[in-house]
């Protein structure tokens, strides 16, 4: 009987960690999975002052009203998904609190709070050729003049629906994908990036790399 692993991500069966490198070297694209990031779908009317105020209070983050933008801090931010819809992101394990806080705060206000942490996973993609890799399957204009840091979009990548979020100018992207499509999308990315040199990195290294780049 195999040992029971309590939580499994939809990419675990690909054993990415076993293939991860500590130093990506000259790879044009590095990628890894960000497992179990907290994700809460929040719906409400941005014209409703009470909703905005209360949500801000509970989240400590502004809900962006400019379409396709992200607002917030390092481990708590909100992605604009629609005129009355946001995806609130938090550190792994915080979704329960987030949902509870929000529900409590929004009691009596017309809004909806739904935990969707488990429905998607996040593939982080970085490197000088990250943009070209995405362009192979995404019709969005990702040029810095058109997209850029702090932007997000719901769109298609290959044959999967995704949410793209650009985090920095490396550029680094978080790709949110429905977990049932994660296996497909990972293979798609790996295949598309192979011509640029592709390296898999484990989650902590991903964060470190990002920090290093930011200081350059």
């Amino acid at each position: 009987m195999a040992e029971i692993v309590l939580r499994q991500s939809p990419l675990d069966h690909l054993s990415l960690d076993a293939r991860a490198v500590a130093e990506p070297g000259p790879a044009g694209v590095v990628a890894g999975e960000r497992r179990f990031v907290a994700k809460v779908n929040l719906r409400g009317d941005p014209a409703d002052e009470a909703f905005v105020k209360v949500a801000k209070g509970a989240l400590k983050v502004f809900l962006p009203t400019t379409p396709n933008t992200v607002d917030g801090k390092r481990d708590r931010y909100a992605l604009w998904l629609g005129p009355d819809e946001w995806l609130v992101i938090g550190a792994p394990g915080t979704e329960g609190r987030l949902v509870a806080d929000l529900r409590k705060a929004l009691d009596g206000i017309v809004a909806a709070v739904t935990d969707v942490t488990e429905g998607r996973t996040v593939i982080r993609l970085s490197g000088v050729h990250a943009r070209e890799t995405l362009a192979k399957g995404c019709g969005l204009d990702l040029h810095p003049r058109a997209f850029g840091r702090g932007r997000c979009a719901q769109t298609r990548l290959g044959k999967a629906n995704v949410i793209l979020h650009q985090l920095d100018d490396a550029p680094t992207f978080d790709v949110y994908v429905e977990r049932s499509f994660a296996d497909y999308l990972w293979r798609w990315i790996e295949d598309g990036a192979s011509e640029y040199g592709f390296a898999i990195v484990a989650e902590p290294i991903m964060a470190a790399l990002k920090a290093r780049r930011a200081t350059r």
Binding site: M1, A2, I4, V5, L6, R7, Q8, S9, P10, D12, H13, F36, N41, R43, D84, V110, A111, A112, T114, D115, V116, T117, E118, G119, R120, E132, A135, K136, G137, C138, G139, L140, D141, H143, R145, A146, G158, K159, A160, E178, R179, S180, F181, D183, Y184, L185, R187, W188, D191, G192, E195
Partner: protein
């Protein structure tokens, strides 16, 4: 060891330092980097490359690029073979192997040439007039016709190479990298715009690569080198050589086919994509695609050695190849004078230049005579003699109106005839974009007139043949396009260039015939001037009829060199003006595009996503056979050892009925519904009433389309006063979500309801069977499980095996069952825990097949199996779920239509085959009369049919005309020649009272 007999020692843009070996029809030759297959063949003195489509006449190389109608070869071998490649576009690489197409046994001796001798029998469209008797023989005739037709050979093995595709955006897309395109790209790039410049050739430069001329006082080629270097240095400019802009679609969306590896020997291609398709959204497009020279239509104009003047010139200047030893040049315009000079300079003896115009340009004529080339004014080549190579040209004087010949014939020996019949601007992309063309008398060609998209044509593509003017146009267009995107002030300076003489052609569309030879218009499809005349006579006088009747312009070259000649000859034949005849429609692609490149990476494992559940790896390990349901992979059955489907399913069903089964139900669609008006939404989209559902309970619902036909079904739970959790069919999840959203946003925008898809948030394991509750009791300490506290059609939150879970007491199997929903990441853990703890009950995983049997025994329908978009709830015997008192719901009015109320509609029934061992074919038809001859009246069909391990017999569900009133009858059921008899029953076979599932 071969000599490149016709290669000059110096000049050209080839790399003589390296020698490339290649074979053509099995013979070894050599060439150099920079060569195309065509230039290398010509360098070796090879003109004969193939046989024509219909008459199998010997054919040679006509052009030097995309326009080539004739020199098609089979390239490469085995899995890497490629049919119908233009020798003029195939870049030479070491080891290249090419062969002629459409000839047998060989290109010199071709048996099909007999068609040429019988040519008189095969005028345009001859096949419409014969091969009709006897009627049955057509397929035999066809067998021969098909083998005679076609060109090259399709590959017979899967393509081992990879392809790629990508999206791109730019402010300015420049199609064509000649002087006009380069000037445009430079101007737009200097202004700071994002530019893509694509040219189909291996080298950027267009006509500058082959021509002379000066720009800014320096040789044009020096300017070209500077320009490409400058572009290469611009961060926002992307230059794509070997990249054909093949299609111009709506909203400035264009396709570019880039050849990444075709120019490399196969060994060096490994690991690279062979070709890539770019899908470009462009702010503005500059079309700088140049112009295509037209041949002249005279007898024997298809003989190897007859070629376009610019091609002959390009071979001389760009590839340092002498296309022959002795040439005759024939032209109706100025441009070929330079060709004559260039040929002469390259070492080809130019015997004579025949100019169709009575008045020749004096300055040019002088230059020729200084070079010792005779100019025959008002004269034309009227026949080309020869077999596999032209041997002489017959020159005659033309009458004043161009339709008669005068004076004596002169036979000039030659092995090359370089022809120029004027120029057709390459308006293909412009026309594809929706732009309207105009006939320009001055250049005798169609030019862009009215644009429909954000594009502009420049240079030769719009009939501007003067180099200085082309550069200026390009620069202006590039600057303006960049300006429109917010870059620069819209102005640009163009380099100065030496002016060229104007073209001034004398159109003589059909050079009068001196004898009985064939004069070809579409040389690839063997369409002659006589064919066009015949078509016109027979009434195929619309240009599109002409095309289809004669196949003019329908070849792989799409008539680049022939279409204008053809429509002009048609105009002449019908006494119509050329503009009134018009062109045929230009369609993508500009030149053929590899299927694989269009598919890109969407092949093999990436063809379509396989959606996987959280428990998928477990199923794989268990040796599960999967079923494709939409994109989902669902366990179909779990064979043990050598079990068949039938055996496995029987075992799985037995396990559920007698002890305990477990199923992965994660794929069901799940929608979270919140808001004060949530219940109203359910009332609208479901047939039954939802207001009264208590929190903690769930209910089955049926969704209809407005026409009253069943659309989806599922169980919805009330999580809170304003909060529901809806489930849908696996295949229907996205559709239902979209359906609800549509009703909310478009019909009920004032309702306050929010929908969120949570399909993949939850992993679901369904356990079912008499031992289900016992297992639950072990693993689930915090939910009261008895039938009173946790009744059928209720849900509870708690933990199962230590995992936070939401448990539904619903049952699709008819047994006591629990659907355990846990966060997806813990689905696997839950499954494993259930398997471990359930071992004592011999817990048995079951797949969709067993699930189908179990539900059918209960008479539960599957939307999409019992229904097909024509079935109402009443047809399914589910009137009970249609809220009679509800004033409205989607589908209510549809159900009230006359046809939905007919008593003899097809209704769901059960069937018990007379032979209890016989499992009826799903899809078998129920006959009204087993003895009737065809057409046999039919009354319905079997929708589901199984062996039931529980009942120890077969059974089925069916839709049967007036079926509800026919219980007890025996009906004939037919499939594949076999009629079986079955008794009509109520569609429920197991636990009619539902004690088990409630208990």
């Amino acid at each position: 060891m071969t000599a490149q007999s016709h290669r000059n020692p110096t000049g050209g843009r080839i790399d003589r330092a390296r020698t490339l070996g290649f074979t053509f029809n099995g013979r070894y030759y050599e060439g150099h980097p920079g060569d195309t297959l065509a230039s290398a063949l010509l360098a070796n003195g090879v003109h004969l490359v193939g046989r024509s489509f219909k008459y199998h006449r010997p054919r040679g190389i006509v052009g030097s690029g995309a326009e080539e109608p004739n020199a098609l070869v089979q390239l490469g071998q085995g899995a890497l073979t490629e049919p119908n490649v233009r020798a003029t576009q195939a870049e030479l690489h070491d080891g290249l192997a090419a062969a002629s197409v459409n000839c047998w046994p060989g290109v010199r001796w071709d048996i099909g040439a007999i068609n040429g001798l019988l040519g008189g029998l095969f005028p345009a469209g001859f096949y419409y007039k014969t091969f009709m008797w006897p009627a049955r023989a057509w397929r035999a005739y066809e067998w021969f016709i098909r083998r005679a037709a076609g060109l090259g050979l399709a590959p017979r093995e899967p393509d081992p190479e990879r392809y790629d595709g990508t999206h791109a955006h730019c402010d300015v897309l420049v199609a064509g990298g000649g002087p006009a395109g380069l000037a445009a790209a430079l101007a737009a790039g200097r202004a700071g715009g994002r530019v893509i410049l694509a040219d189909e050739q291996a080298e950027i430069g267009g006509s500058l690569l082959a021509g002379g001329g000066t720009i800014d006082g320096r040789p044009a080629r020096a300017w070209l080198d500077d320009a490409t270097a400058e572009l290469a240095g611009m961060a926002e400019v992307r230059v794509l050589p070997r990249a054909t802009v093949f299609g111009y679609y709506d909203h400035n969306y264009l396709g570019i086919a880039e050849r990444l590896a075709d120019h490399l020997p196969p060994a060096e291609r490994a690991g690279r994509a062979r070709q890539r398709v770019w899908k470009v959204r462009a702010g503005r497009v500059v079309l700088a695609t140049g112009a295509i020279e037209r041949p002249l239509v005279f007898d024997g104009n298809d003989r190897p050695g007859v070629m376009l003047a610019t091609a002959a010139q390009a071979y001389a200047n760009r590839w340092a190849v002498r296309v022959g030893d002795r040439a005759v040049v024939v032209t109706n315009n100025d441009s070929a004078y330079q060709t004559a000079l260039d040929l002469s300079e390259s070492g080809v003896a130019v015997a004579l230049l025949a100019d169709l115009r009575a008045e020749v340009p004096a300055a040019l004529a002088q230059r020729l005579s200084r070079a010792g080339i005779e100019v025959a004014a008002g004269s034309a080549v009227v026949d080309a003699a020869g077999g596999t190579r032209v041997t002489s040209a017959e020159i005659r004087r033309l009458g004043a109106d161009g339709t008669t010949l005068e004076g004596p014939a002169r036979h000039v020996p030659c092995d090359v005839i370089a022809v120029s019949g004027g120029w057709s601007p390459a308006v293909h992309l412009f026309s594809q974009s929706g732009g309207r063309l105009r006939w320009d008398e001055a250049i005798a060609g169609f030019v862009p007139d009215i644009s429909r998209q954000a594009e502009v044509s420049v240079g030769a593509a719009r009939g501007t043949f003067d180099l200085a003017a082309a550069l200026a146009e390009g620069a202006r267009a590039g600057a303006a396009a960049a300006h429109a995107a917010g870059f620069g002030d819209g102005t640009a300076t163009a380099p100065a260039a030496n002016a060229r003489e104007v073209i001034a052609p004398r159109p003589v569309w059909r050079v009068p015939s001196a004898g009985r030879g064939k004069a070809f218009v579409d040389i690839q499809n063997d369409v002659t001037a006589a064919d066009i005349a015949l078509a016109a006579r027979e009434g195929y006088s619309a240009v599109e009829h002409l095309k289809r009747y004669t196949t003019t312009g329908m070849g792989t070259d799409q008539g680049k060199t022939s279409n204008v000649n053809a429509l002009a000859i048609l105009a002449h034949a019908t006494g119509t003006a050329i503009p009134a005849v018009g062109t045929t429609t230009f369609r993508p692609p500009y030149t053929p595009v590899t299927f694989g490149a269009l598919a890109g990476r969407t092949v093999g494992p990436l063809f379509d996503p396989a959606r996987l559940t959280a428990m998928h790896p477990w199923h794989v390990q268990a040796g599960t056979r999967f079923e494709d349901v939409g994109q989902w992979k669902r366990p179909w059955y779990y064979p043990r050892g050598s079990e068949t489907l039938h055996q496995a399913v029987a075992r799985e069903c037995r396990a559920v009925r007698t002890s305990l089964g477990i199923m992965d139900a994660s794929t069901l669609g799940k929608i979270d519904i919140q808001g004060p008006d949530a219940a109203k939404l359910l009332d609208l989209v479901y047939t039954n009433a939802w207001g009264g559902l208590e929190v903690g309970r769930c209910r089955y619902g049926l969704m209809l389309k407005e026409d009253g036909m069943v659309f989806d079904d599922g169980v919805t739970a009330r999580l809170g006063p304003q909060h529901f959790h809806m489930t849908t069919t696996t295949g229907g999840a996205a559709r239902v979500m979209a359906w609800l959203e549509e009703w909310l946003q478009t019909e009920r925008p004032h309702w306050r309801v929010y929908l969120t898809s949570v399909t993949t948030q939850w992993a679901v394991a369904a356990i079912a069977g008499p031992n289900a509750r016992r297992l639950m009791a072990e693993l689930c300490p915090n939910i009261a499980l008895d039938a009173i506290d946790f009744p059928f059609m209720a849900w509870r939150d708690g933990t199962v095996a230590g995992i936070a879970a939401r448990v539904f007491r619903v049952s699709f199997s008819g047994e006591s069952a629990f659907e355990i929903n846990v966060p997806s990441s813990q689905g696997m853990a839950l499954w494993q825990a259930l398997m471990t703890a359930g071992a004592k009950y011999d817990i048995t995983p079951y797949g969709t097949e067993a699930m189908h049997v179990l539900r059918a025994e209960k008479g539960f329908v599957i939307v999409g199996q019992e229904t097909d978009g024509t079935v109402t709830p009443g047809d399914l015997g589910m009137d009970w779920i249609v809220g009679k008192k509800k004033p409205d719901f989607v589908g209510r009015r549809g159900l009230a239509r006359a046809d939905c109320k007919r008593p003899d509609r097809k209704q769901l029934v059960g069937l018990l085959p007379q032979d209890p061992k016989e499992v009826l074919v799903e899809g078998a038809q129920i006959m009204a009369d087993a003895a009737a001859p065809p057409p046999v009246p039919m009354e319905g069909h079997v929708t589901s049919s199984y062996w039931s391990a529980t009942l120890s017999r077969s059974f089925a569900l069916a839709l049967l005309k007036g079926g509800r009133a026919r219980h007890g009858q025996t009906v004939p059921v037919h499939a594949y020649g076999k009629t079986s008899w079955a008794q009509v029953t109520e569609p429920i076979f197991y636990d009619k009272e539902g004690e088990k599932l409630r208990g």
